[in-house]
Amino acid sequence: MDGVSFEVDEGAALGIVGESGCGKTSLGIAVMRLLPSNVQRFDGGIYLDGQDLQRLSKEEFRRTIRWKKIAMVFQGAMNSLNPVMRVGDQVAEPLLVASDIGRKGAMARVSDLLEMVGLPREAAQRYPHELSGGMKQRILIAMALILNPRLLIMDEPTSALDVSVQAQIMNLIKRLKVQLNLSVIFITHDIALASDICDTVCVMYAGELAEIGTAETILKEPRHPYAQLLLSSIPRLRGRAKPAYIPGDTPDLVTPPPGCRFHPRCPYVFEPCRIRSPGPFPLGGAHLARCWLLQDSKHGPDQA
């Protein structure tokens, strides 16, 4: 992952879209400060309400930010619920650790939360094996919300679910976002799914930001060739356009190609692409793209 910047407004959702190995999950766990110890270099700042989170010590971050201000629903976490513990107790755990509310108060809060995520209050008494996939995902969302975080990071929260259940969970996330004025970072490989919730979409390729802009811009008029091709590769249920594809494979991040990382697969490749990494070039408003073709667009080049 290299040189990625973005911001998420209060009550807004940012989608991080990219294919396997593009670094989207690393981005999520970097914000949570849970990167593994073999990370060679982590530069850059993470700010929450103007506060520079990188200046906090590990301990301060754990005590004041993680789960209290920023919570995360991890990919595949429905399989990491403790099988021998009632799910209500698992949801309550962060609250019991973080406050002296006591078990009774915590369980009352758990009941309210379960109702909010569309589960019956009695579900707290159940064990994970008694719940369906969709119900487990709702439990994980309740668990992430128990300390009233401001920002919720969700990494592929529906990828293990069937489409009909996926649609239910997306509706729930949409409702919670409005009801709680929650900021959301939604990490997914599925740009169509991202359009279900995201106000801003960031398309990543091989660890780099390719293009970022409002949902309208990215989904209707993307400028980066990768974003355009990714969008046209989705088989559409409505309309007759046949899905396209991008020849070739995503590069190995140990030895990424020089210049623009997309250049070996790009149909518009020209000289500078092979030599220097482009942009990001501003395209008006918060719209940015890293592509040499867009350097001389009417908004002018930016050597940032």
Binding site: G134, S164, V165, A192, D196, L219, I234, R236, K242, I246
Partner: protein, 332 residues
């Protein structure tokens, strides 16, 4: 009795299932077991050289049905025909000729190929099994298969190991292996669900062009109804062990008759920035398990068009309600 949805000239069918059921015993406690009806009375046929997409959610029985059609599983009830031959009761020892004609492409190219074998060994394996692995022609055939799936230069790819390949390339190895015996019938079970979105269509186009060139019939098993639209001739929608709707992609996706199909089509997100401003229509609940199939129509507890004293009592049969468009629903 011809199978529902069968083409009238029976010997045009590559594979035909008649009233197939597969029941598995599921243990409950120490001594009791209850049957899970993974597939329950399904009839379908695939004409030669055509593709039938079997669309359904997890647990709908689509993979089990695919296994039965390959005779990797034996049906509890019903018959399996390959061309006009009844292969339902053939013993493994007598199935060799059929195994040569019927191949499979699996979902996970990471676990379905041996990591210690070179690409050429993986692709040549079916030749060896069927006693054609020796001689210089075997190597030629392997190279040709690699060329067919566009793993070129073939000589270079032949000596690579699976870990040196990307997901899409590994899946091509799987396709080359399935094609090397020039089979007449191929089951592709979720062949692209582990492949990156931007490469999926490439693999599906490749399968389609190889079908045009060599003419095998395909059973394309998928949860992704949108991909079925572009890569199949007919679509069968499965719910809890039954086919609930069958027709052309235009019929099934453009004008779905079954409430479940309609809900499935509605649930698929399309990239549209307006999506975030509205909630999607969803069907409530999740499919029950195959051990607790509801009485009557098995979709009735989740159905928006539920009719009391009908849907919860009478099990609907798959009927042709429009030309070549079949549905199992009391609304029709």
């Amino acid at each position: 009795m011809p199978a529902a949805g069968s083409y009238r000239i029976v010997n045009m069918d590559q594979i035909r299932l008649e009233n197939v059921s597969v029941h598995f015993p599921v243990r409950r406690g120490l001594f009791k077991s209850v049957p899970a009806r993974a597939v329950d009375g399904v009839s379908l046929n695939i004409p030669k050289g055509k593709t039938l997409a079997l669309v359904g959610e997890s647990g709908s029985g689509k993979t089990t049905l695919g296994r039965v059609s390959l005779r990797l599983a034996k049906p509890t009830l019903g018959r399996v025909y390959f061309e006009d031959l009844d292969i339902t009761d053939l013993k493994e020892g007598n199935l060799g000729w059929f195994r040569r004609q019927a191949q499979a492409i699996f979902q996970d190219p990471y676990s379905s190929i041996n990591p210690f074998m070179k690409v050429e060994e993986i692709v040549a394996e079916p030749l060896k099994i069927h006693g054609e692995g020796d001689g210089p022609s075997a190597k030629e055939r392997v190279h040709k298969a690699l060329f067919d799936v566009k793993l070129t230069p073939e000589v270079e790819f032949a000596v690579k190991f699976p870990h040196m390949l990307s997901g899409g390339q590994r899946q091509r190895v799987g396709i080359a292996r399935a094609l090397i015996l020039n089979p007449k019938y191929i089951v592709a079970d979720e062949p692209v669900s582990m492949v990156d979105a931007s490469s999926r269509a490439e693999i599906l186009y490749l399968m389609r062009s190889l079908q045009e060139r060599y003419g095998p019939a395909f059973l394309y098993i998928t949860h992704d109804i949108a991909s079925a639209k572009f890569f199949s001739d007919r679509i069968a929608v499965m719910y809890l062990g039954r086919i609930v709707e069958l027709g052309s992609p235009e019929q099934v996706i453009g004008a779905p008759l079954h409430p479940y199909t309609a809900a499935l089509v509605e649930s698929v997100p399309e990239p549209d920035p307006a999506n975030r401003l509205r909630e999607r229509h969803v069907i409530p609940g999740e499919p029950p398990s195959a051990t607790g199939i509801p009485l009557g129509c098995r979709f009735h507890p989740r159905c928006p068009s539920f009719m009391k004293a009908k849907c919860d009592v009478i099990d609907p049969t798959l009927l042709e309600v429009r030309p070549d468009h079949f549905v199992a629903c009391h609304l029709y």
